[in-house]
């Protein structure tokens, strides 16, 4: 079930909230905790199974296996053995479902594919449980949650599908509170949810349609000219930001309605001063996971700093998908982080606007291999971006500004731009200006004043209604595939 569907908004969510409230009252003075948790688990399993109920057993088995392993880690005299077993089990499941075909294709391309369907959100719920096992091993004296609390934490539908990757210690205590609806929390949560809905349905999907045209042409090996390539890449950079940040906002808002506070996952990443700052603002919970559970255990910045950075970022790339393009994206970010670390050691800080521009350019260009799965697509897109295929502009623009004829060839339409219509160039230009103004000049919704949030809602709510209930096609969240 998608957060953006009428079924979720008008059906599932009101029922889930009402059931949560009723379950909370059932327990009387105790707050009806088991009933609340049971209700949350049941609702979350319905939410998860709606897409493909055949993947429910994997999720349930994963919970039923990890909880006793964590108990053994806490109790046993050989906790490292149990931790190793738990990690092997979780990573093994992930490897089988997500990476087996990738490994097969890499090692033995002639062998037929295994054809295993990738269970929805397997990366998220696996990493979530790895966090739990490692945290338990690090602090065995910490109070251990009951199976019910643990299951409610893992399956809690706002973060089950695409995060944020929340620390068990942050969320499980909140689940132990009585389940009662709070009008202020509902209002806050609904406001954040609606603003996230707008970012996803109105902005991300619009930029997605522009990006799709250009990247589809690149993957088909067609020639992209300078503006076609740049507009597609800039559109994709906006699409993935609005898509994922919008999803995270919706998750935060939904959790708030159930009295749960999730950590911030996006903090205006394209406003980052440098690449390290970018990773403190982009997918914050994944960055924190990689830092805490991969980078620091590898040695952090104490020794082999560059190698640790590269290994961590390559893993980040691989986490996003089983493909060389994702590894290339992770490696690209690893190189940028390493260069940044080396530059910092020189102690010659760049002027802030220059640092921000270089960072933004690096991040935007890194989206090309992330978006394009083929060498053909990547090379076609970079050829266009670098101007190797020339610059074309609509004839009406060149006619209006004749000096442009010196640098651009006038054409009737640009076939890989927007809908390839006469007015597609001004249309995409205006939309990109709007999108980049929003991400570069405005605060994100978590930094907005309450008044600004209400203005944002006023400007976007009706467009969200249009997109959810009337647009014939709403694209699924990009991060569902991860």
């Amino acid at each position: 079930m998608l957060f953006t569907t009428p079924l979720f908004i008008l059906g599932f969510l009101p029922i889930a909230l009402a059931g949560f409230h009723v379950a909370g009252r059932l327990g009387g003075s105790s707050g009806g905790l088991p009933a609340t948790l049971c209700w949350l688990i049941a609702a979350s399993l319905v939410f998860y199974g709606w897409w493909n109920p055949w993947h429910l057993p994997l999720l349930i088995s994963s919970i039923l296996v990890n909880h006793p392993i964590a108990r053994q880690i806490g109790r046993s005299s050989t906790p490292r053995l149990w931790l190793t077993a738990g990690l092997t089990l979780n990573l093994g499941v992930l490897a089988i479902f997500k990476y087996a075909d990738f490994l097969r294709q890499t090692i033995a391309p002639g062998v037929p594919p295994f054809g295993l369907a990738l269970p929805l959100a397997i990366s998220f719920f696996t990493f979530q449980q790895i966090m739990f096992l490692v945290d338990t091993a690090r602090d065995p004296d910490r109070p251990r949650p009951t199976l019910l609390s643990y299951a409610a934490f893992v399956t809690f539908f706002p973060h089950l599908i695409a995060g944020p990757l929340v620390r068990p210690a942050e969320i499980i205590p909140q689940l132990a509170r009585p389940g009662r609806l709070d009008a202020d929390q509902i209002t806050d949560g609904l406001l954040i949810f609606l603003l996230g809905l707008g970012r996803k349905c109105v902005l991300a999907d619009m930029f997605g349609s522009f990006a799709d045209t250009g990247f589809a042409a690149a993957e088909a090996g067609q020639t992209l000219t300078f503006f076609e390539a740049w507009y597609a890449t800039l559109s994709y950079a906006l699409q993935i930001y609005f898509d994922f940040a919008g999803y995270s906002d919706m998750a935060l808002g939904l959790a708030r309605m159930f009295n749960i506070r999730f950590p911030l996952n996006f903090d205006s990443p394209y406003q980052a001063r440098d690449i390290a700052d970018f990773w403190r603002r982009w997918h914050i919970t994944l960055g924190a996971f990689l830092r805490t559970y991969v980078y620091i255990p590898l040695g952090g910045n104490r020794h082999h700093h560059t190698a640790n950075l590269m290994a961590t970022m390559l893993l980040a790339g691989l986490w996003h998908g089983a493909g060389w393009n994702f590894i290339l994206w992770g490696g690209w970010h690893g190189v940028m982080l390493s260069l940044h670390a080396a530059w910092r050691r020189l102690n010659r800080p760049l002027p802030a606007p220059l640092g921000q521009t270089i960072t933004l350019l690096g991040v935007i260009l890194a989206w090309v291999p992330f978006r394009t799965g083929s060498v053909t697509g990547i090379s076609a897109m970079f050829a266009g971006l670098s101007g190797l295929n020339g610059i074309t502009l609509p004839r009406m623009i060149v006619n209006a500004m004749p000096p442009l004829a010196a640098i651009a060839q006038p054409v009737s339409v640009m076939p890989s731009l927007g809908d390839a219509r006469t007015l597609s160039f001004p249309e995409v230009t205006a939309c990109l200006l709007l999108g980049w103004c929003i991400v570069l000049a405005l605060p994100n919704i978590h930094r907005m004043s309450i008044n600004l949030r209400h203005w944002a809602l006023t400007s976007g709510f009706a467009l969200s209604v249009q997109a959810v209930f009337f647009a014939p096609h709403v694209a699924p969240f990009l991060y569902f595939q991860f």
Partner: protein, 369 residues
Amino acid sequence: MRRLLLCCASSLAIYLLLFAGILDRPLTLGALQARIDANLARGQQIEGPKLVIIAGSNGPYSHRCETIEPILGLPCVNAGVAVGVGLDYLFARWETQLHKGDIVYLPLEEAQYARQHASAALGPDAAIMLRHDRTTLAAMPWHRITAAVFTGDLRGLVMSMIEMTLNHDGFHDPRASLTGTVNAWGDHVGHTPALGQPNQDVLARFMPYHPDGAQITNGYGSTLIARFLDTARARGITVIGGLPTGFADSPIAAEALDAIRTLYRAHATPFLALPNLSRYPRTAFFDSADHLNEQAQQTHSVAVANALAAMLDTIPTSTQAILYPTPMPASNPTPMPASNPTPMPASNPTPMPAMPPPAVTASLSGPMP
């Protein structure tokens, strides 16, 4: 919560005010609306029976009423506009202009049969009705009205501002010089092979999408067409189904073709299928898989006209009594300024060597007398 609800209500009010009262798209939707209005005006001018071609853009690009009219001896209006314009809207607009004895030829694009309910309600006609044609909108079912009210998205908002600015500044629309223009019959003219030459590379690679038989049968478009067929028959209007033009190397799937034929047969409507099933080599097309170039348009129109003439001889329509006792000479419609902004010179009727010979016989799948 009260403030949040107030924001939501204000947002909806501002949205309605903008899209229903202020924003407009004079260069795109305005052009479509002008085309529809001009066609209707021509239909209104014709007294007595007429042939009306209703389709998507393959109507005006691939069919030429100017050619068909003298062959049939029947005034003709090319009322096809664009594949995205809702059929219910076109049928509703033409309902008042169609009379007993009229003939409607429907070489509809496959997509028009297969269109789904949701996308059909959000075509360009929704915005046209909301902004300029609320009379037709008011007569539509409630779901269509609601969808029309919520047809505007962010892209529409941005494009409206661009188009309104360009229109205000006297923007010279380059489309006439790029694709040709429209004559008084509603035919697209001037889309010569030479003008279409730059599109040949794209056309050579283009892979048309064909809906399958189930999509045709279950499409919301098919429901609308069936409803129109029944209404027209009840009013003494002869409807003849037909096939859109397309690439010879990318035919309509046999099951989809069967589904189209079955739709007409089920509603006692004759169906015209030329021996070549309206398929032509890619080089005969102008800028898309639906648009023949002007030469091929004329060749195809001759074939359609001859087939229609043969077919009308066999169909007992109320037109026959009116039409054939006194065959009408080729009409000379008064050019309408709105529909013919830049008249094109008479096109060159040189036969195309790559084209198959024009078909002069039709296969009838409709009810025979």
